[in-house]
Amino acid sequence: MVQPRVGKLVLCLLFLVTVRGIALPQIEIDLGFAGRFVPERMTLIRLTISGVEQPFSGSFRITEEIGNTWRGKASSLIEIPIPLVSNGEYEQLLPLYDFTHPLKVFLCASDGTSVASADVSLRDRVRESVFPLLVGAFPTPVDPEAVAVAASDLPAHWLAYDGVKSLWIGRIQDGLSRAQWEAIARWTLAGGTLVLFSGADFYPLDSPVLRELIPLSNTSLTMGEDGIRVLSGKPRLGSRSINGRADESTLLFVRNYGAGMVFLIPVSAFDLTEKEVAAVSMEVPPAQLVSLSDMNADLLEEIPVDRPGFSVVFLVVGISLLSLTLITSKVRSPKRIVLSLVAATGILSVLSGLYLSQAKLVNDVYALETTLYVGTSLGYQIEWYGLFPNRTATVRFEGEGVLPVMEVLPRDMRGVNYDVGWVKGEGLSLQLEHGERRVLRWGEDCTIPITIRYAGDEEVEIENRLPTPLSEAYLLVDGQVFSLGEVGIGTWSYTLGEGVHPEEVPSAGLRLHDANLAAFYNTIEPCYSVENGVWLIGGHVSDTLVVQDGVRQKVRVVSLYVLAGGEDE
C-alpha cells in the first residue's frame, strides 16, 4: 500500500523539479566582435535573458579571474543593477583583462541570490593584438586577420572599438544608425583608423556625421568612362589623395581627423581589383588611441607632498627641551616651575596649531586626474587616474558613470592586491596598500561647453561655460598661434593682431607655461593635427582636498581642452 504512494510522491517531486527547471531564467553571452576580443581593452558584452516569467528587480554580476601563480592573481567584479529584469538583450561595455579563466555572469535577485548563471571560455576567443574589423560586403578578403560583423552588430559607443586595428566599411544596404556613426566618428577622433568605400555604395551610407568625417566636401557621384560610379568633391584642407588605380586615377583620399585618420576610397569595393584592395590595405596604418599613461605616471610623481617642515619640528622639539631645562634650573619654587612649564607648553602648542594649516597636513592618498577633452561637432573625453597611497586606505570613486573604469594592470601583480570592483551608478572601490602605484583609465562622450565664434575677420568670440576659467589658452588659426592668456567664465571677445599678437613660434612649438599642461600638450600634440582651421587649446590645473570615509586625498586635476572652432573650406 505504501510503495505506490511513495512512487507518486517521487513523481510529483520530479515533476515540480522539472517545471522549476524549465522556469529558471537562462543567460546567453555574446562578447566582442563576432566573439573576438583583445585582453586589457574595453569589450562589448551582450547578455540575452530568456525564461523569465515575472519581471523582477535584480542585477548582473560579471566576474573575471585575472592572472596566474607566476604573474600574480587579481579579480574583477562588475555589478549592473537592472530595475526590471525581463526577457531580452542587455548590453554593457566592460574591461576584459585576461583570457586564462572563463568569464562568469550571474543574474541575481534583489537580495543578491543568484537565479541564473553562465560562463564563457575566453581562451578560444582571444586575439592577442588588435584586428581589422570589416562591416558590410567585400568582394575579396581584405586581411586574413580581419573579423567581419553585420552592420547591426556595430556598437554605439566609441570605446567598444578599443580592440579594433582599423574599421573597414564596405557595401551596407541599410546604412548605419546615427548613434553608430557618432561612435565611429568619436573613435576616429580619438585615434581610430576608418576606411570607407563609397562610389555606388555611398548613398546607403550617407549621413551628416559621415559627411563631416570624409576628406571631401560638396560631394557628388559621377559616372566614370569605365561606367564605374565615382565619388567626387572638394578636398578638405590638409587632406591628400593617392593615385594607385590601374587607370592612374585616385585610389583613395586621406584625411587626419582628430588623432585618427579617415581613408575614403571614391569607388565601391566591388569596383576595385584585388590588387587595388591590397594597395589600399598597404596604406592603412593601425589605430593608435591616445594614451595618457606615461604622462600621468610622470606627473603623479611630481605632486608636492604636504607636510610640516623639518626645521619647524626641530625647532619645536628644541624649544620644548630648552624651556624644560631652563625652567627647572632657573626657577626655584616648585609651583612656579609647574606654572612656567604649563605656560611655555601652552604658548608653544598655540603657535604649533597656528602653523599647522591644511597645507601642512600629510595626506593619505595622492591622486592625479588627467583629462583630455576633444571636441569638433562631436566630443569625447579620456581620463587617467594615478594613485599613490601614503598609507593603507580604501578609496571610492563615486559617480553616475555608465561605463566601468578600467584598471591598468602591470605584468607582475605579485604582492599587491589589484582586485577591482565596480557597481554601475555607484562607482569603484579600491583597496590601496602603502607605497604602491595604481592606474585607472576611463572614457566617455562629452560636449565641451565652450563655443568659438570666428567671423574670419580677425574677430573671435569665446564663450566659456565651464565651471572654472581656463588658466591659459591659445587660439590657432591655420597654424598661427595667438595667446589668449586666461579665459574666464563667460563670453570674451578678441581682436587677433590687436592686443592678441601671434606668437613667433609655429603651432608645433606651442608651449604652455604651466609645467603640467605643457607636459600634457607635448604628449598629445603629435597625435592631433591642428595646422588647419581654428582651434582652441587651453587647460587648467587645480589641487583639491577630498576627505572621504576618513581618507584624505590630495587630488591634482589637470585638464586639457582641444576644441575645433570651424574650418576654412
Binding site: P304, R307, P308, V313, V317, S320, L324, V362
Partner: protein, 213 residues
C-alpha cells in the same frame, strides 16, 4: 624643604627630559622625508610605521618606571605617592602637547586614534609607575636587583605578548589602535592594564597600611 610636594625640580627633571627628547626624535623621524611623491621611492625606513606612537608607548613606560623610583626616593607613600605619580604623568603628557599637534598633522584622519593612544600610554605609564614603586619600596627589593627586575618585567611586558596576544603589549596595542582593529580586542587591550593597575594600587595600599601598623 619637603621634596615630596615637588612635581619636578632640578634633580628630578631627567625622566621628563628623556621622554621629551626621545619622543621629539621619533617625531622628527616620523615626518616624511619626501618633498614630492617620487621621493617616496627612497622613502623613510619608518614610512608606514606609526613610529611616534611606538616611541610614546615605550618611553611613557620607562617614564613610569623612573617615577616609581623617584616617588620612593622622595619618600612618597600611600595615596600621596599615587597622586604625585598621577600628577607627574599628567604633566609629562601635557608637555608633549606640541608634539601631539604635529603628530595630528602627520595623521590628520586619526585624531580619535591619537587621543585613544594618549589615554592608553597614560594607563601604561601609571601601571609601570605603581609597579616600579612596589618593587622599589623597602618592603620588597631595595637594590640593583630591583632596577633589573623592573626593567626585565617591562621588557617582558613589551615583547612576550607578541607570542600569544599582541594587544597585551603596548607596542601591539598602539599599533592596533592606530590601524583601527575590532572594538572587542581593543577593549580587552585596555581592560588588562587597567585591571592590573587597580590590582597594583590595592597591593600598594595594603602594603602602606601594613607599614603604618
Amino acid at each position: 624643604m619637603n621634596k615630596g610636594y615637588s612635581l619636578i625640580d632640578r634633580e628630578s627633571f631627567q625622566p621628563f627630559f628623556s621622554l621629551l627628547l626621545f619622543c621629539g626624535v621619533a617625531l622628527l623621524l616620523s615626518v616624511p622625508f619626501a618633498d614630492r611623491v617620487k621621493d617616496f621611492h627612497a622613502g623613510g625606513i619608518f614610512s608606514g610605521i606609526p613610529l611616534y606612537f611606538h616611541a610614546q608607548g615605550l618611553f611613557m613606560g620607562i617614564f613610569g618606571l623612573s617615577l616609581g623610583a623617584m616617588s620612593v626616593a622622595h619618600g612618597e607613600t600611600g595615596r600621596k605617592a599615587l597622586l604625585c605619580m598621577g600628577e607627574r604623568i599628567g604633566l609629562v603628557q601635557f608637555l608633549t602637547l606640541p608634539y601631539l599637534f604635529f603628530t595630528w598633522a602627520l595623521y590628520p584622519s586619526k585624531a580619535v586614534e591619537i587621543l585613544l593612544i594618549v589615554f592608553y600610554t597614560t594607563i601604561v605609564s601609571a601601571l609601570c609607575a605603581v609597579g616600579s614603586h612596589l618593587i622599589e619600596t623597602p618592603w620588597t627589593h631595595r637594590s640593583a636587583r630591583g632596577f633589573l627586575l623592573k626593567y626585565a618585567a617591562f621588557t617582558g611586558y613589551l615583547l612576550l605578548p607578541f607570542g600569544f596576544f599582541p594587544l597585551l603589549s603596548p607596542f601591539g596595542m598602539v599599533d592596533a589602535l592606530f590601524r583601527g582593529k575590532d572594538v572587542g580586542p581593543l577593549l580587552f587591550g585596555y581592560l588588562v592594564p587597567i585591571v592590573l593597575l587597580l590590582g597594583l594600587i590595592l597591593v600598594a595600599e595594603r602594603i602602606h597600611k601594613e607599614g603604618l601598623r
